[in-house]
Amino acid sequence: MAHAETAAASAETGQRVEYELQLYYWMKLIRAFEERVSRLHRQNKILGGVYSGAGQEAVVTGVCAPLRPGDFVAPLHRDLGVFLVRGVDPGRLMAQLMGKEAGLSRGKDSFLHGGDLEHGVFGSTSMLGSSLPVAAGAALKFQIKKEPQVAVAFFGEGASSRGDVHEAMNFAGVRKLPVVFVCENNRYAYSTPLEKQMAIENVADRAPAYGFKGHVVSGNDLLAVVQLAEKVVRRVRAGGGPELIECKTYRYRGHSEHDAALYRDKEELLEWQSRDPIPRYEFYLEKKGHDVKRIREEIDERTRTVVQQAVEFAEQSPLPAAGEALEDLYAPAPMSPAGDGRA
């Protein structure tokens, strides 16, 4: 008996170790994938708007880590990482960015607007904040059907100025919906700094006004994000009502690849880069007794391969045929009772 318990405990520890290394892998994969995306954009292989999340990898990794299949996630415009952590095929994701037939939206829309509901990833529109009411609606479904799932909606501190955000939070509070609101506060909305966007210190301070808890965490500290997210997701899943997590972070690149971000101080960028989430997490792994140098080499090799294969897959994929422009506008009527858009 005692022996079995120890075995279970050590299996659990083993799993935890694996999980912690998996988190590291995800952050590294997101960083490598996005670096490649920026390069492909410079080479004109990805057209249209590209919004890098470099610097913010710990937020999406840490928040998505405790999620399960069937949970619903609405990423914001820089959250390419959400797609990767949720298990969307990197090749299809790259094909999406290149407007290929194999992409999530089959060439219909650009960048992250093509969702993948099979992996619980909603394709948000460009209209900032508009996905929060949708996430509330997903949570409403889970509540009505008594399903043990949660909805997660990411939004920028900039988007928090929109009325949709207020409407979603208010309703979620009223109905105690199983939804986690995650604010990625990177201090800028395009060129506009925080102090021109809000007169208070934290977006999370608004949560109590909607009747739920708001938390502030360093979005560059993966461990802190994941520990908080695990607790919050557990409570929300158990029916405790919505909560808000605000992650303080910083984007390294311009608002989009077209933006040189001259409105920012170089010092400020350096200061934040010195708090990069990846070396910070490596420090933790090191203290836990891992051979970080070896792990880093291994993982760099793995991520290089994954990204390279994704690029090759996407580049070899055909573009959609012109006539497809008129497809995918309507679901068949009548639709199947599953509501999956099939006849």
């Binding site: 900039g158 506009t192 409105y263 012109a322 422009a325």
Partner: protein
């Protein structure tokens, strides 16, 4: 002095702000950055932070606050960063602003300009390519303009700022740097509600506006060269109110009308233009009224889809030939 379409907008703002201290500019990233497209560049330095205001991301607020300031005598020029996001301010425009004078029994005015960079052909995909003019051209109380040249961009913006009504000003992103001309040094305006003949012709009329004007002119010169056709090109410039006289005059003159716009076909401005002609110039027509417009779908991202959806000079040429042969 030569000016691009974009510079013309910028100069109009500078000049109007200098002329009238009640004119002020408000929107996302308009001050420090000078706007996502640089249309408001230099205004902050020239006029200071009380007249060039960066707002939070709040389109309903931007328009609604514009209304509040306008009814008390200010002349706000507010910006939607992309015309696509004007949907987020829809209620404030079509309900608050457009009905304001009517519901105050004619004893109030709302001199507000809403600038909206719109249009496709820049790989903008579903939410950075829209031509939302037709959502507004059926709203009494609003005026809607869509300049196609640098001269009109400047002149119409000045008229819009001086107008006592809410004016939605659609500026086409593709024209910002691709269109330029010599502008007079002195003061000039372009009247709202007046179309402009861009080219006189005998055989067929193209009625168009905005980004599609340039494709229409290209198409007209192709068929002039290759088919010897003489095409009249009418640039509507203002979409609400439409210049009915100019529309009917060109229809009566050539008897064949092709309407061209980048916005979608169904429910587009072209339908209204066609109805005006069918109602009032039917006797003069020598053929059906036809339209070239974006297909009835969303402006897709992938280049083959986008090309298939949007009008271009070749598609206009084909439509001209078909109608000319009718």
């Amino acid at each position: 002095m030569e000016a691009t379409y974009l510079a013309a907008i910028n100069h109009a703002l500078h000049e109007e702000m200098r002329r009238d201290e009640n004119v002020f500019v408000m929107g996302e990233d308009v001050a420090e950055l000078g706007g996502a497209f640089k249309a408001t560049d230099g205004l902050l330095a020239a006029f200071g932070p009380d007249r060039v205001i960066d707002t939070p991301i709040s389109e309903a607020l931007i328009v609604g606050a514009g209304v509040g300031a306008a009814i008390l005598g200010m002349r706000p020029v507010v910006e939607m960063q992309f015309g696509d996001f004007i949907s987020c301010a829809f209620d404030q425009i079509v309900n608050t602003a457009a009905t304001l004078r009517y519901r105050h029994g004619g004893r109030a005015a709302c001199p507000l300009v809403i600038r909206a960079p719109s249009g496709a052909g820049v790989h903008g995909a579903l939410f950075h390519s829209q031509n939302p003019e037709a959502w507004f051209t059926r709203v009494p109380g609003l005026k809607v303009v869509a300049p196609a040249t640098a001269y009109d961009a400047k002149g119409l913006l000045k008229s819009a700022i001086r107008d006592g009504n809410p004016v939605v000003y659609f500026e086409h992103k593709r024209l910002y740097r691709s269109v330029k001309e010599d502008l007079p040094d002195g003061e000039f305006t372009v009247p709202i509600g007046v179309a402009q003949l861009r080219q006189a012709g005998r055989d067929l009329s193209l009625i168009t506006y905005g980004g599609a004007l340039h494709q229409s002119l290209d198409a007209a010169s192709i068929v002039a060269r290759e088919d010897g056709l003489s095409i009249e090109v009418l640039d509507l410039r203002t979409l609400l109110p439409l210049d009915r006289e100019a529309i009917l005059a060109t229809a009566r003159k050539t008897g064949k009308v092709l309407i061209v716009h980048e916005d979608r076909l169904t429910g587009g401005v072209g339908g209204e233009v066609a109805a005006i002609i069918a109602e009032h110039a039917f006797d003069s027509l020598d053929g059906p009224i036809r339209r070239v417009a974006a297909l009835d779908t969303h402006t897709a991202f992938s280049p083959p889809l986008e090309e298939f959806i949007l009008p271009n000079a070749n598609k206009i040429v084909a439509a001209i030939r078909g109608l000319a042969a009718y």
